[in-house]
Symmetry: C2
Subunit: 515 residues, 2 copies
């Protein structure tokens, strides 16, 4: 009888498939059995981690457009069908993110004989460390990880950071590591715009010498690089809000024929949906992509929804007119707007989380969307919070090398991230799921009878008279969102009461029930 090691070596040689975990993750894998003519591979993978099956079949014709590959992953009476993808050099891969602890079996299906009928097992073990699973909508207006722990999106934006070469990309990761952000909006395609004229290191499609794209094929190197960065984000606890299309383009990616669009979407979802920290954003500023119609956007949503076995979060980002976020495939409202006071209407209208992903950028560039003050950025984060919504950051300070965080990443220079970190700590120290309360005399969000967070914005009352729910006693803290101080107010408060305040604009107030 073969030893396991020998079995493994034999299988690798003779059947040319393997299971492995992507580069940045470690996985101990184990081959367990051979069933009939088919090889059965088994690995151990954490719940919500990535399991990968690698198969090999010589490419004939164009493997990106020919017969595909999929696998059924079964757990008890449930089966999840997952698309595989061609990764170049005769290599095919199937990636899977198990969502239940226990033993899963899998079997492949393909019209390509060498890829068909392969089977195996995987042992899904409980998550460890910071693995809380993917983020989904929770309690209508909020988010949570799959393990139930709350997730408060504190996003930033660096559209083209993965197209800047290793040195700058590593700098960006180091900045993110020490920053307050747990989500980043980033484009799959490279970007062409002011301050963004450099060529990317990798292109998503093969190109000829004249720069003509072959949209019928993909460039595996491009995606391997992207995947490495997404995994690095994951290790930092950062969700990758992946922007699938955007208008700032000189290579042709914004004007592909619709069959190329659709193939691109399916390929991306096949490659990336098993990354638990992925969100899908159909577009940045969809309305500026004049070659796409509304039915294109609807179709893109459906393709992603149909292809993604895990239902990662899906939205779309506007420049001017908003997409109709009431459509069923939209999981949350991702919006570009400086009108933070519309949050309440949108929450009521859509009954989905509202994320102000773009509220202009802290910075000093001539573009009017790119030069608000750190104070204003901080203010907008607080306004969004006490409106029951969430906010996103970005930064655009002029730089002699044109390295602006908003697009290329690099380092942060602004003064808002420290304040955003302060707000994040307050949120994480709270009960989560803050909704607008019935009493909106001053904007506040909270959980009735338990917790209230006020932000007074331009108002600077010297005292605040309010009626707290009968039967509870509350402690109050005066929060200075800019100075980043929290000062308890002496005494307790209950029923109809007056709370002394600093008489100074821009303050916040936290009320927490103590008994």
């Amino acid at each position: 009888m073969l030893t396991l090691r020998a079995m493994n070596a034999t299988l690798l040689r003779s059947l040319r498939y393997s299971t492995r975990r992507a580069a940045s993750c470690t996985i101990s894998f184990l081959l367990l059995a051979v069933t009939g003519l088919h090889a059965a591979g088994a690995g151990t993978v954490e719940r919500w981690d990535r399991f990968e099956v690698t198969l090999h079949a010589p490419a004939t014709g164009n493997p990106y457009t020919g017969p595909g590959l999929r696998a059924d992953f079964s757990f008890e009476h449930r089966t999840v069908t997952v698309d595989g993808f061609y990764d170049g050099d005769g290599t095919w891969r199937i990636r899977f993110m198990p969502d239940a602890v226990g033993t899963w079996t899998w079997v492949t299906h393909s019209e390509i004989a060498a890829l068909n009928g392969k089977t195996g097992q995987l042992i899904c073990v409980p998550p460890s460390g910071k693995n809380h699973g993917p983020v989904a909508v929770s309690h209508v207006y909020h988010f949570a990880y799959a393990d139930g722990s709350p997730y408060y999106p504190i996003g930033t934006t660096a559209y083209a950071w993965v197209h800047q070469g290793d040195q700058l990309e590593e700098t960006t990761l180091a900045t993110l590591k020490s920053g307050p952000f747990n989500k980043i909006r980033m484009c799959i395609f490279p970007k062409n715009y002011d301050y963004n004229k450099n060529e990317p290191q990798y292109y998503p499609f093969p190109r000829d010498a004249a720069g003509n794209n072959d949209y019928t094929r993909f460039n595996p190197e491009f995606f391997a690089h992207l995947e490495k960065r997404i995994d690095q984000l994951q290790s930092l606890g950062i969700e990758a809000d992946l922007i699938l299309f955007h208008p700032y383009d000189r290579w042709g990616y914004s004007k592909m024929p619709s069959d190329a669009d659709d193939r691109y979407l399916r390929y991306v979802v096949a490659r990336l949906s098993s990354f638990r920290n992925v969100w899908w954003s159909m577009a940045n500023e969809y309305d500026l992509m004049k070659t796409k119609t509304m039915s294109d956007w609807d179709r893109f949503f459906r393709i992603v929804q149909e292809s993604d076995p895990y239902s990662h979060l899906r939205s779309i980002h506007n420049s001017g007119p908003m997409y109709d976020h009431s459509k069923s495939w939209v999981t949350h409202v991702s919006v570009q707007s400086s009108d933070i006071d519309k949050a309440g209407d949108w929450l009521s209208q859509y009954r989905k989380p509202v994320v102000y992903d773009e509220m202009k950028y802290e910075g000093n560039i001539p573009k009017r969307w790119g030069n608000i003050s750190a104070q204003e950025m901080t203010r907008r984060f607080w306004l969004a919070t006490v409106s029951g919504a969430y906010a996103g950051h970005g930064e655009t300070y002029l730089d002699p090398s044109d390295v602006l965080w908003w697009s290329k990443g690099g380092v942060l220079r602004g003064e808002s991230p420290a304040r955003i970190a302060f707000l994040r700590r307050i949120l994480e120290d709270g009960p989560g799921g803050l909704n607008p309360t019935a009493d909106r005399y001053y904007p506040n969000a909270g959980i009735e009878g338990e917790y209230y967070l006020y932000y007074f914005d331009v108002n600077g009352p010297a005292e605040y008279e309010l009626k707290l729910p009968a039967g509870g006693k509350y402690r109050a803290d005066i929060i200075d969102p800019w100075a980043m101080t929290i000062a308890p107010v002496a005494g307790t408060f209950e029923d109809k009461t007056k709370i002394p305040l600093p008489g100074k604009a821009g303050m916040a107030l936290r009320l927490r029930r103590i008994h």
Copy 2:
């Protein structure tokens, strides 16, 4: 032949009428002639100053509801009919504000024989000193004095200042004298509200011991006091934006029967329309006066419009829903709103000046409308200015004696008035009539090809690239509205150009064509 002095004494005794100028103004008067059975009095009065005819007739019945008195003032082929009014103690007065230099003749008409058929002359001489005449709408969206000099409303609010007794009222006048304001919103009726529980010194109608009003009569002392204050405002160059009705009442004035409302309006207009610094505001927060209907407000406007020979400015102030300012009798949009960005829409919609008379109050009281910061008040003044609109100030700082400027007057404690004075100097140093320009990339108002005033609000660009009209050279100044500094930018600018800016939010920019 009688000497003029003797004629005068004789006439005073026998005909019991006189011409005189109201208390605060001086006028040399001269009796010139007797025509037939009627006495002819003549005075010299400045254009837009007040000429007053005093007549006497013993009161029979209720002189406020019986036959009235009017006079026709004629200048060449033009006749202006003016209502007189009963001023108590058998005294009747007719007040007239001549608008043309030269000799006017007048004749009275009344069913009361002793008041009928009196005639006289007045010599209208050119205005002197700061007498520029009444303010009217100019160039669609703006204001000017009758002599053509521009008027930029820089208003404040002290609703009940004339009901506080002489000591505080004199303090208020002293504050106004040294302040930046050239308009004050003030109520005719006393006010009942938080911080406003004191009884007024005078009541507009006679009251019995139980406080029941006789709405069929007026209290001349009340009006004489009010008139004294309006004249004092005039001497300070301040327009009195008189609020005719308001909801904050415990005496009954907000719930009078409609015949009393109408009589009150006619009486007020007869007494006050000859004061050149009077504006008519039908109401403060008309929509909170639940006893009045929209047709009441329309009728009030019509009564004022029909009764006022001089067409003083007319508007009405809202709490929530705006009155329909497109109605023909509204001269300008007086609005309570913090949405300064609606100015452009309202200017387009109404084609009338827009005055943000209430944008909340600088202060620290618990009411959310009464505790914005001085920075925010300053910001709103600038936003209104660069939107082509005008703004009004108010202040509500808690006071141990409940003397809050917004209502009682007194002294100003805030930090915005100095900044408002700074803005006023900039406006007065400019060409006037600033309209929103076609290029709204950053909010600005100006006169195309001549003058531009930008306010960058939350934006802090480090440079601004713009296209100036070809053929002109401009100088630029960086204005700091809070620090109150004006710093010229080196060089001149023309055509498509870039102007270096401080890269700091809250700045303003002035561009002036030099050739």
